[in-house]
């Protein structure tokens, strides 16, 4: 009994400092990352990737995928902020990990890098399916491309891909010049799913088939529908990267030169290292993470927020949006943030102008409709966190003494009444006193 209570006290003492090292609202970059490998030699064969992560301040915890002491959370608290699963052939995780606990991990807002390779077990396929990514059903199929392969490969399975998504948030500002080398399985995305996105697509001449056997029927996955690397940003802003090739992250492909078949350009170094580094910056919230302050609105000329507006009032609206730079909150600069004045449908939709210091503002006239409106800012730019802000405000009609005193269109009628009165007055005098 004494031993048990003493060990519980020791464990809780251990946990207290761990709590201060997780990611928080003020510091959204992940800190502690669990790396699951199915073979410890991956630590050395992918050492460049892991060392770049460590140099950026991440706390990497390497474990074998079937380690029986694996746990993502203890006593209800998550132990890690990010998860890297480089275990494409694992059928079952050890410890308390399974595809449901990984789905809960992403549901709690934490990030995931998942990679399959030339063989993807059902477990990995299941986790990818949860995130909206469909690996090719044929377990022996690989991506083959007879016109976009690297010339150093005789098999046409080492693809030199350069069809990258155009997003500064996901891939960084510097353009990746050299093609990215890829050898692995194909996956496809459901086109109606608007949370997943193809980061590296295959060229139109690619297809997914078994390279060592003759094709008996046309392949199911072909062309640009094949995605080589995809990302998903969940509604709670958790980010997931799913790659069809583990070799894409390996030191050998990081260091090798690349020349695409049919192209005269020969690159000393492939684009793999830059691609993997920029993608890891995005997925662990070092880039593209936005935070918004509260919505502020008031009448023109006043500073306090009124409790109710009147129709046809002039009002000013502003909101503060900051972007996380990896170390600090910087002002967010963009020209496409919009605000809606919404009641069942937007009556007013205006693009906010920015003062480049993080404040976005605009002014407009309240529409000629009364009711309960909302100021809504719904911002979903590619690669950035989605902002969904709203504030409710009622709008009342005119009071009885706020209408205009004399209606300009009715002046002729007023004139007619007065001339009738004058005419009657003159007529009565003339009629009574004529001779």
């Amino acid at each position: 009994m004494m031993n048990l209570s003493r060990s519980v006290a020791l464990i809780s003492l251990f946990l207290l400092p761990l709590l201060s090292f997780s990611f928080s609202v003020d510091n959204p970059t992940d800190r502690r990352v669990l790396v699951l490998l199915d073979d410890l030699s991956l630590k050395s064969s992918h050492s460049i990737f892991f060392s770049t992560l460590k140099s950026r301040g991440f706390d990497l915890d390497f474990k074998l995928a079937d380690d029986s002491k694996l746990a993502l959370q203890r006593y209800g608290q998550y132990l890690y902020d990010g998860l890297i699963v480089f275990a494409p052939s694992t059928e079952r995780f050890g410890g308390s990990l399974d595809s449901k606990s990984i789905a809960d991990f992403v549901d709690s807002g934490r990030d995931l890098i998942l990679s399959a390779d030339t063989s993807a077990s059902d477990l990995i396929r299941g986790i990818a399916l949860e995130c909206g990514v469909d690996f090719d059903e044929d377990s022996s199929a690989m991506v083959i491309d007879h016109s976009s392969f690297s010339v150093s490969d005789g098999d046409h399975t080492l693809i030199a891909a350069d069809d990258l998504v155009k997003s500064d948030a996901i891939l960084g500002k510097t353009k990746i010049e050299a093609p990215v080398l890829f050898r692995g399985v194909a996956h496809s995305l459901n086109p109606t799913n608007n949370l997943v996105l193809k980061v590296l697509s295959a060229s139109p001449s690619a297809y997914s088939a078994n390279p060592s056997s003759k094709l008996s029927s046309p392949p199911q996955l072909t062309g640009s529908a094949i995605s080589l690397v995809s990302v998903m940003q969940a509604r709670n802003n958790a980010r997931v990267v799913i790659s069809g090739s583990l070799q894409l992250f390996s030191d050998r492909l990081f260091r090798s030169g690349v020349q695409k078949a049919g192209s005269p350009n020969k690159y000393e170094k492939s684009g793999n290292e830059q691609f993997a580094t920029e993608l890891s910056k995005w997925v662990f919230h070092e880039r593209g993470h936005l935070k918004a302050g509260s919505l502020v609105h008031h009448r023109v000329g006043e500073t306090d927020e009124p409790a109710i507006y009147r129709i046809k009032d002039d009002l000013e609206f502003s909101v503060e949006i900051l972007e996380w730079s990896g170390k600090s909150w910087e002002p967010y600069v963009a020209d496409d943030v919009q605000v809606q004045f919404y009641m069942m449908s937007p009556y007013v939709l205006k693009t906010l102008s920015t003062d480049k210091k993080g404040m976005f503002h605009t002014s407009f006239k309240v529409p000629d409709v009364y009711g309960v409106f909302q100021f809504k800012v719904e911002y979903g730019k590619l690669g950035y966190t989605t902002l969904s802000l709203s504030k409710q405000i009622p709008v009342r009609p005119y009071r009885h003494n706020e209408y205009e005193r004399f209606i300009p269109t009715a002046y002729p009628y007023y004139g007619a009444c007065f001339t009738t009165m004058a005419g009657f007055f003159v007529f009565s005098f003339v009629y009574l006193y004529h001779k």
């Binding site: 209606i407 269109t409 009715a410 002729p412 009628y413 007023y414 007619a416 009444c417 001339t419 009738t420 009165m421 005419g423 009657f424 007529f427 009565s428 003339v430 009629y431 009574l432 004529h434």
Partner: protein, 107 residues
Amino acid sequence: MVKSTSKDAQDLFRSLHSAYSATPTNLKIIDLYVVFAVFTALIQVAYMALVGSFPFNSFLSGVLSCVGTAVLAVCLRIQVNKENKEFKHKTVVTNLRGIVAMFVIAV
């Protein structure tokens, strides 16, 4: 036929004109007032046809006040007309009654 109808119209107009000149002056004054009131009402109707009936209340008040005073003036004319056999009043009383009625109601 054309010639005869135009000659008939001219004859008609001339006979009306000469008959009308024979009416007493006070009746002519009332007629002038009625024409003025109806004319004002017609102007307002034309204006409403132009700009639409937005302040409909104002339109109604303008037109009805003009039409009302015209109707009351016609009543006065009927009562004052000496050739009207049904009404046999003394001149002063007639004048006062008619005018008081118009004053109270027309406003």
